[in-house]
Structures are given as structure tokens and as C-alpha cells.
């Protein structure tokens, strides 16, 4: 530990563990797992898509928890947890969206399916939390940012749920398409596991791997946020000192 950094024994262990798991995951996903009879090789995209969903949802849920606890306890710790989790969530949501689009193109022949409530509510979720991250950079006092983003962090989850059901009911009024993508999606996942438990094993492994990555990133992101907070305080102390000197200099010049 020569140079100061955000690493600790915990993150280094977790990081090494992740790298080991990642090696295993790549082997499982690209070699061990056979091609799917219907989806063929593109089933391998599922091994980054599904774990991203798991991490993104967990992260946004953590933002929600952090926001609630911040409002309840006024603790900066939970405020920073909420902020860090939102950023990690947006990162994994990016992976989730483009891996899903690639998979959709190969399987359904389209990048984007407007009939799928899951897809649309995920897109809304993405925008909501990008807005949340934008709010955290606003030119307000630290306390105002924490309070307002806690409100958005709590309402954010609600928005995603409401959008999900709204889209679902909205689309249900339309006539059925020849292939219902939702059925197809769930159908094939069930199919995957029925046909070959190698798919299931790989998926579970990949989820564990991504969760480890998510946690590792979260811890580091939190520490960066924490350091930024400390640094801001130090800067303020310095600024106060400077301002006092300014006052002393003025008095000196007067005499």
C-alpha cells in the first residue's frame, strides 16, 4: 500500500475473485455452453444481458433504500450510497440495453420492440436515473442536492413500476402479433433450461460474476464520492483561511 488509493484488502480480494470468476465465465459462456437450437450462438448474449438486469435492478433498488434512509437518518453515508448505486445502475443499464438490442436483432429481427413493456420501462428507468445523476451535479448547496435527489430516488422506482404496467395495459388493447415477444422471451428461457442445464449453470455463474463486479465498482465509486466529500470540506476550510487572510491583508494595507 505504497500509494494512497481507494483500494483496500476487501476490494483487492473481491477484484481477484471477480477476475477468476470472469475467466470461468468466459470459458462457460463462449465454449462450454452449446449453441441454442433456435437462437443459435446469440444465446451467448444472454450471459451478459441477464446478469446486467440483475445488477441494474439491484443497484436502483439500493438507490431507493439509500434515499429513504437518508431522509430518515440524514446520514451522508446513505446519500452517497444512493448516488453511487445510481451511477453503477446506469452503467449496467447501458450494457443491458445494447446487449438486449443485439440479441433482439438476431432473434426477432428487430433492434427495438415497441410492443414490449419490459423494454420500454427499462428505457424509462434509464432516463430517470440519468436525470437523477444530472440532478446530483446541479449548482445547489450540498444539502439541497441530497434532499432533492433523495425525493427523485424514491419516486424513480415508482415511475418505473407505473410505466411498466401502463405500457403493458396499453399494448394489451392492440391485437396480438403473430409472435408475442414476451411469451417468446420467457418461453425460450424456460426452453433453455429444459433443453440443457449447461445454459442454466452458465447463467447462474454469470450472474454471480456480474454481481461481484457490481459490488466492486460500487465500493470504489462510494469511496471516490466519500473522498470528494472530504476534499470539498478541506477546500472550504482552506477557502475560509484564505478569506481570513484577505481580511488581514486589507486591514494591513489600511494602516
Amino acid at each position: 500500500m505504497a500509494k494512497p488509493s481507494t483500494s483496500s484488502k476487501f476490494t483487492i480480494t473481491l477484484g481477484l475473485l471477480f477476475l477468476a470468476w470472469l475467466t470461468g465465465m468466459l470459458f462457460l459462456a463462449l465454449i462450454y455452453s452449446p449453441a441454442h437450437p433456435e437462437q443459435q450462438e446469440s444465446v451467448r448474449l444472454m450471459y451478459i444481458h441477464l446478469p446486467s438486469i440483475a445488477v441494474a435492478y439491484t443497484a436502483f433498488f439500493l438507490t431507493f433504500i439509500g434515499s429513504v434512509l437518508y431522509l430518515a437518518k440524514k446520514s451522508i453515508f446513505w446519500d452517497l450510497v444512493a448516488a453511487s448505486a445510481a451511477e453503477i445502475g446506469v452503467l449496467f443499464c447501458t450494457v443491458l440495453l445494447f446487449s438486449g438490442m443485439l440479441w433482439g436483432k438476431k432473434t426477432w429481427g428487430i433492434y427495438w420492440d415497441w410492443e414490449d413493456p419490459q423494454l420500454l420501462s427499462t428505457a424509462v428507468m434509464y432516463v430517470v436515473y440519468i436525470g437523477y445523476l444530472g440532478l446530483r451535479r446541479m449548482d445547489l448547496t450540498a444539502e439541497a442536492i441530497s434532499l432533492r435527489s433523495a425525493i427523485v430516488g424514491i419516486l424513480g422506482i415508482g415511475t418505473v413500476i407505473v410505466v411498466h404496467y401502463a405500457v403493458k395495459w396499453w399494448r394489451s388493447g392492440h391485437q396480438d402479433r403473430t409472435i408475442d415477444p414476451e411469451k417468446l422471451a420467457t418461453g425460450t428461457t424456460e426452453g433453455i433450461f429444459q433443453i440443457n442445464d449447461r445454459y442454466l449453470f452458465t447463467t447462474v455463474w454469470a450472474i454471480a460474476t456480474f454481481m461481484a463486479l457490481g459490488l466492486w465498482l460500487l465500493v470504489h465509486r462510494f469511496r471516490v464520492a466519500w473522498l470528494e466529500r472530504q476534499l470539498a470540506e478541506i477546500d472550504v476550510e482552506e477557502a475560509i483561511e484564505l478569506r481570513r487572510q484577505e481580511s488581514a491583508a486589507y486591514i494591513g494595507s489600511e494602516r
Partner: protein, 229 residues
Amino acid sequence: MFRDAWLIAKKDIRIELSSKVIFAQVLPFSLLFVVLAGMVVTTDFVTKGAESRNVLEQVAPAVFWIIATFAAIMALGRSQAVESSNGNLDALRMAGLDPAGIFLGKAAAVFIQLLALELIVGFAAFTLYGVPLASVGLLAATVLATTLAVASSGMVYAAVAAGTTTRETFVPLLILPVLLPVLLAATRATESALFGVSGGWNWSAALFLFSLLYVGIGMLTFDVLMEES
């Protein structure tokens, strides 16, 4: 609380009556949009179920509510700008008005302005696009519920960004995802009111519930949102 709400609402309406920003700027813009959409969208016929309608007729509810959403964002921006130009937000804080009352008042003023605007734009759009009207009652209920939902939820998110320098560009980013379910429900309910498809009342009721929810949220959170920025 209601005294404060009434005071604020009256003041905001009076400001609109003398400055006419919504009616001299947002309204013409919205009407222009109605005409543009009519020119751009094809009038080819589509078959949907047993019925056959032209595309313009079919998309009229969606077009109308998209225009209304844009108008709402402008009205909300205006509602915030009025308070920030001469530091009036600080004066409101000093006055010690009930935050819930301020929320209700400002949301009510936006509600009334939007409602008036939608009546004119809606009349123009549905006449020009030549749509039928199956149920006046449902249409009225939908417009009321939607406008209430837009005004209440929009006011909450407009206040989240209040006091920041990049407010004008930031507010739409915050508001649009929230307005998406409102837009969907309003479009479906309006389709139902115009073409006589069933299910419209459920959508109106859902919109009404949504707006009640946001009225509650606004009354609870304005306390925090009105604090020092």
C-alpha cells in the same frame, strides 16, 4: 393552506392575463403544430380490427397529447420563471406561506391555463383532422384528469430543478419519463372517447388516481423543495 393556495393561484393567473405568454406564444405554437402534423401525416387508410380509418384520424389522439405535453412543459417553465426573475422565491420563503398551499396554488394555475389551452387546441385538432366523437362525457373526463395529472406531477419535478441555472433544459429530462404513462393513458382514453372503443373510463380513472397520488406527493415534498437552494 387553501387560503395560501388561492392567493398563489390567483396571482399566477393574473400574471398570465397581463403578460399573455401562454396565450400569445404557446397557443399559436401549439396550433401551428396541429397544422404541421396534419400536413405531414398521410391520410392513407389503415384497417384496424373491423374498422377502417385514415392514418391521421387514427393518430389524432396521440398527436394531440404530444402537443399538450410540450405546452405543459412550457407552462411549467413559465410558472417557475415567474418566481425566479426578481428573487421572488426568497420573498415567498420569507412570507412563511404553507408549502403545501404554494404547491396547490401553482399547480392549480398551471392546470387552469393548460385546460384553456387544450380546449382551443383540441377543438382545432379534432375538427381539422375530421375525427368522430363517440362520447363527450368521457372526453371531458379524460381531459380533466390528464391535465390534473400533468400539472401536479410536472410541478413536483419543476420544483426539483428550481433555483438551478440550467433549469430550462433540465426540467424536460426529469418530467418526460414521468409524463410517459400519463401520455399513454390519455391517448388510449381519448381513442376510446372518439371512436367508441371500450375501456376509456378505466384509463380516465387511472389518470385520476395518478393525479391524486401526485397531488399528495407534491403537498408532502414541497416543504423540502421550497427550502434554501
